[in-house]
Symmetry: C2
Subunit: 307 residues, 2 copies
């Protein structure tokens, strides 16, 4: 199968206490693709400016990413500049330049229309809707969103959610979108809006998967060598959707597996600047990393002896 | 076996968006005892003022808590007053009155000296040391501490840590105490200070257990009906230490079981004001709650098919 992603491609400046890098390849579609390509073919839709390095798309192509859907436009590529504190969970955004992304109108190459799996990264819900309208009839649609769209474009977001199978969203935004306190209540309310499955991302603590009566906690892998947390959420999504593509998206247990694969993919991303650590990994590395979660989560049975 | 706890007994005023309660029974030793008494006999050491209600100690006695170590002194019982926001993870402390706790000098009834298991709740590390000096030779010592003592009494804390088997501490305080970034690095450093086992509490996200080469993630149970999160950490400790008392404290797997029991005990606490929900539970309720973690954490095998 093939996984289609629509999102941003970016050139970021990233500063950590140890290092400063400029022009780092990033953006939601890039992080997603780098992770998803470890398990499946990926079709990428996005836009770059004329400053975007030729080799970057070529590197992605080598990993099995079809970049024919990436348009080149005159102007600057989307740019984010941020500084991480000594504790890598704290960061300041120094600058955001939309560049060519401001006028982004997704266009699908004809060959992409039959994609079975779709990931709509965190962009304007109006554009997310347009993408779905251009497709034949995808079997599985996942979507990411954020407070900016929840507050700014609630109508379009509501419409697109009706057509979504899985929403990936962070904990505070799940409560904002649902107007509920407590993650089970938030997930229940969001599931009534359309998505059968809600994946609530908990940052370094992992993610919760709410699907039918199934509730699964995919922990984050505790790590010391966090270099750059940028893109962890989109890498999670890439591993998650590609695993469902590989395993099938009908069975609850596959959503559990997919969340572990997502968390494993994210654990590579944060070990390097931008996508560099993720791009250096292969499927065996990902599978090996995922195995580490099995012992991390193992509860010995029985928990208590019978009285 | 018997579990000895030294800590505070308190009368708290607690305000949530839904309700305001005054004179709520609380304090670290109370939350610990209410949880631990679900599995084992508890011996309690602390101090109360002459405003402390008679029935409160009687209620604890009924649950199997020996309160002969609770001294009564003229003056006011330790008092904390706090307000929780709509999101129960945010709270403001409105007032703290030390009262008779300011002059607290732990004294052990002679019958307590042979206790096998000890929990030193979050009090002055100088007092924690004195308690250990008054005991015969406990088999297992667990300790809680906080930034106030890490920064204010580092010498005494260092000394008592050398005599501790398990440190329970929250994530930011683990990094502060160890001067390390990253929880595995923090736990390694703390283990070089004395404790064989480090339990890093992650609030509603659960706890990490670092012991020898074993690393275990005990998730928090996602819940909607959080009434009052006060005392969740001490309830965790109560379930944790009492489970080790019941199961044995030599085997790594028992620390995994104990962390699940701790997380289950904490999940009762937050469902009621003060200790009321925890005091209404029994061992079967606790065991049943613990079972819910098994499915929550279950990773289906194999995660990925062989290529």
């Amino acid at each position: 199968m093939s996984v289609l992603v629509v999102g941003s491609l970016a050139l970021d400046d990233i500063e950590t206490p140890a290092e400063k890098r400029t022009g780092v390849l990033g953006g939601s579609a890039v992080y997603f693709s780098a992770a998803a390509s470890l398990l499946d073919h990926v079709r990428m839709v996005g836009v770059v400016g004329d400053d975007f390095p030729e080799h970057a798309l070529a590197d992605l192509e080598k990993k099995g990413v079809d970049t024919r859907g990436v348009m080149k436009r005159p102007g600057r590529t989307f740019h984010w500049s941020g500084r991480y504190h000594e504790n890598p969970n704290d960061r300041d955004t120094l600058e955001t330049v939309l560049g060519v992304f401001a006028e982004f109108e997704p266009q699908l190459p004809a060959e992409y229309a039959d994609s079975e799996m779709v990931f709509l990264a965190n962009i304007d819900p109006g554009l997310q809707l347009k993408v779905l309208d251009m497709m034949d009839s995808p079997g599985f649609v996942a979507l990411d969103t954020m407070n900016y769209w929840i507050e700014g474009k609630p109508g379009a977001l509501e419409k697109v959610l009706e057509r979504v199978d899985t929403l990936l969203i962070n904990d505070s935004e799940a409560e904002l979108l649902s107007r509920r306190i407590g993650l089970p209540a938030a997930a229940r309310e969001i599931r009534s809006m359309g998505p059968k499955t809600v994946v609530i991302k908990l940052g370094k603590h992992g993610a919760l998967v709410f699907r039918e009566d199934d509730l699964f906690y995919a922990p984050g892998l505790p790590m010391d060598d966090v270099k750059d947390p940028t893109g962890a959420g989109d890498s999670f999504a890439g591993g998650f959707v590609a695993a469902l593509s590989l395993l099938g998206y009908k069975d609850n247990d596959n959503y559990r597996r997919a969340a572990i694969i997502g968390s494993a993919a994210a654990s590579f991303t944060i070990q390097g600047f931008g996508v560099e650590a993720l791009m250096a990994a292969d499927r065996d590395d990902l599978a090996g990393r995922a195995e580490r979660f099995v012992d991390l989560s193992r509860i010995p049975m029985p928990i208590l002896p019978v009285k």
